[in-house]
Amino acid sequence: MKKILNISIGFLIIAFTFTSCNNGESSKSNGALSSNAAEKVYVAPGEHDEFYAFISGGFSGQLSVYGLPSGRLFKVIPVFSQDAEKAYGYNEETKPMLNTSHGFIPWDDSHHPDISQTKGELDGRYVYINANNTPRIAKIDLTTFETTEIIEIPNSAGNHSSSFVTENTEYVVAGTRFSVPIPQKDMPIKDYKGNFKGALSFLKVNPDNGEMSIKFQILMPGFNYDLSHPGRGKSHGWFFFTTYNTEEASSLLEVNASQNDKDFIAAINWKKIEEYVNNGGGTKMPTNYAHNLYSEETHSATSTMIKEVLTVNPLDVPGAIYFLPTPKSPHGCDVDPSGEYIVGNGKLSADLTVHSFTKMLDAIANKKHDGEAYGIPILRFEDVLAGTVKQSGLGPLHTEFDGKGNAYTTFFISSEVVKWKLGTWEVIDRKPTYYSVGHLMIPGGNSAKPFGKYVLAMNKITKDRYLPTGPEVTQSAQLYDISGDKMELLLDFPTIGEPHYAAGCPASLIKANSKKLYKLAENKHPYAAKSDADTKVTRNGKEVHVQMTMIRSHFSPDNIEGIKVGDKVYFHVTNLEQDYDVPHGIAIIGANTSELLIMPGQTETFVWEPKQVGVWPFYCTDFCSALHQEMQGYVRVSPASSSIPLSWSLGD
């Protein structure tokens, strides 16, 4: 115990020295810099930002959309959590999106968004993002900025080393952070070692519509699989995963998982495993997981339970998986745009470790092994090492690249971003962050073609940076200009939830494809009313279906009678507008779901179970027109025993 205390005090002292030194440096040039910075982030009224930034919402379970360089928030896209603002997860159409083998799970912890790629470059079609807690991967369609698919990952726990895409979006990976018994069973936790397994799932992506399906799961030794990155260019076909807890401890991991001097980066030749699987390899295993798909035609989601998954034992595909020893519990795992360098940041090490892909192939060809772990060959550290960036800072986490031969690494403990040169491993520049930076993002920095103009640092702590808001203060991101030799801090801006990681993309790749409305003629919702003539109210026992329309500035019908206490009333509401940016909302008194927010041409449904007799109003919740306030109606609710027939009307 005393030893741990000593170590942390040691860290604190060093951290203090580093930050104080950096603070001094920045204050020198503050005056001139800030006026220049304001100009660089200013986007005049009516002008558009140059980049979209998709910043994860962390424990909010959502994905937020910001503009860069302005740092303006445009939208929060609901993904893994219910969102009352948009009725996502509340309306009948999107509830199936949050279905899992554990039932309806309306929350998660979303971490790593990644934009789809073609030939190693961003194509701006989809964003994939992981749910950590109840392992899932979601697809967001960038024509609508809506979540259109969520697939649950069986045999996985703490879906952290995901969701990164290969260079033609052949695969999205979902690597487990926690190893667990596979299949799950009741067993003593202390028997972890040798009995738990880590599932690395490879999800095949349909090139036409981006849809995912689990192609295979590799059942790896029971380590923790922390982060991952696909190879690209020369290393295309390989995937790299950092590991920690190669000790396979199950208790007090801060100590027990920090004993080995080196953990591993697992290098996986997925093309080889794909070939093995395509030739009938692998073992089908019974399981149960949800695959949820949203249809733009029916405006509704369906959830299908899948009962089987194909698993691969690494020992059955010799030559497909190797371990690269990497110092001190590496966290980030990042591959440079050329695909040659694999950066493994030992979070307890002061040095950065960079492996060489060429050297790795060479070591494999010459069978230079240094033992094995559970039958998987371990390559010799010296044989695969490309170089180390010495004394670069404290607590290195993540690295991105500018496409000009430089790398940028975040240091959590010393709160800074460090710029260094690939190949010479020399530190070129360092800038403080405020404070405790996790990931950083360069638009396209995760692809073969980075747009090396800005780096966005995502911080865990803000303390004094903003007006205080009680014990909970805002999370934040910081934007740096990296177009010159030295980095320049341009902007602080608050973010939602935890800005865990982000993906950035030139706006031009996305905005031209953005949908303005849904065509009413293409609406295939089973309860759509496409004109006032289609509106009706029907009863089926205690179930009542109201097919309603909305347009500026009325609902049709706006008077409904014949509803009884104890009924389950489904309001299926269609927005008849065919104009950009004219949604309408609807809510009714006593409803225990969210209001609906319905886009032009769309149909959405909420359920209302009236508990009291009376005449109850409903109204439009989205200010839509000069007569928005008049956009309202009444439902008459009679006693359960009443014989008043159903009737509905609009006007006299």
Partner: protein, 197 residues
């Protein structure tokens, strides 16, 4: 074939361009419509400039009680027939007639076009003035009379929050060129006739 008759032949054929290109365009600009709403008028149809524009014009206009722009009006049957008949007439004249007939065709076309424009004006006037008495919003002119919302026949006009533009399009140009060409055919025919006699 004489030069004047060839010109007359072209003159008779040019109005057929009305079947290929719109006759007129009305555009409505407002701050909340960064992409203005617009409507093309063809010889036989209305059409949207951008998808759903007419539906959205109708939605906007119903606030002041204007009627919905219908899918079709009777003129959409009469105008095409008129153009086809005058073209056939023009062709017969081009092949059989002399320059005096060219002038007759020219005058006929001027009369018919003027009648068409007048009909268009009447339709616009009715559209802009025959308002639903239960309209949500009522506006009066400074003199107290009920405000009309008639779009301009030609040119630009401010109507409440909208700026309306109304201008001929390519189809009208074809018609105009055809009419002008028949007059040229008449002049050329007259000149050659003099030289010969």
């Amino acid at each position: 074939m004489k030069k004047s008759n060839i010109i007359m032949l072209i003159a008779a054929l040019l109005p057929l361009g009305l079947f290929l290109f719109p006759l007129w365009k009305i555009t409505l600009e407002a701050p909340q419509y960064p992409t203005p709403l617009g409507m093309y008028i063809h010889i036989n149809d209305f059409s949207d400039v951008n998808p759903f524009d007419i539906k959205n014009i109708n939605l906007m206009n119903h606030y002041v009680g204007m009627k919905y722009i219908p899918d079709a009006i009777p003129e959409f049957k009469i105008f095409p027939a008129g153009i086809l008949i005058t073209t056939i007439l023009g062709l017969i004249i081009a092949f059989k007639g002399n320059y005096k007939w060219f002038l007759s065709w020219f005058i006929l076309m001027i009369v018919l076009s003027t009648a068409g424009l007048y009909d268009f004006y009447l339709w616009e006037h009715d559209y802009g003035h025959d308002l639903d008495p239960k309209a949500i919003m009522k506006f009066t002119n400074p003199d107290g009379s009920v405000m009309g919302f008639q779009p301009p026949l030609f040119g630009t006009k401010h109507i409440l929050n909208f700026t309306a533009h109304s201008y001929p399009r390519l189809g009208s140009l074809f018609l105009g060129l055809g009419i002008a060409a028949s007059f040229i055919a008449y002049l050329v025919g007259k000149k050659t006739n003099k030289i010969i006699s």
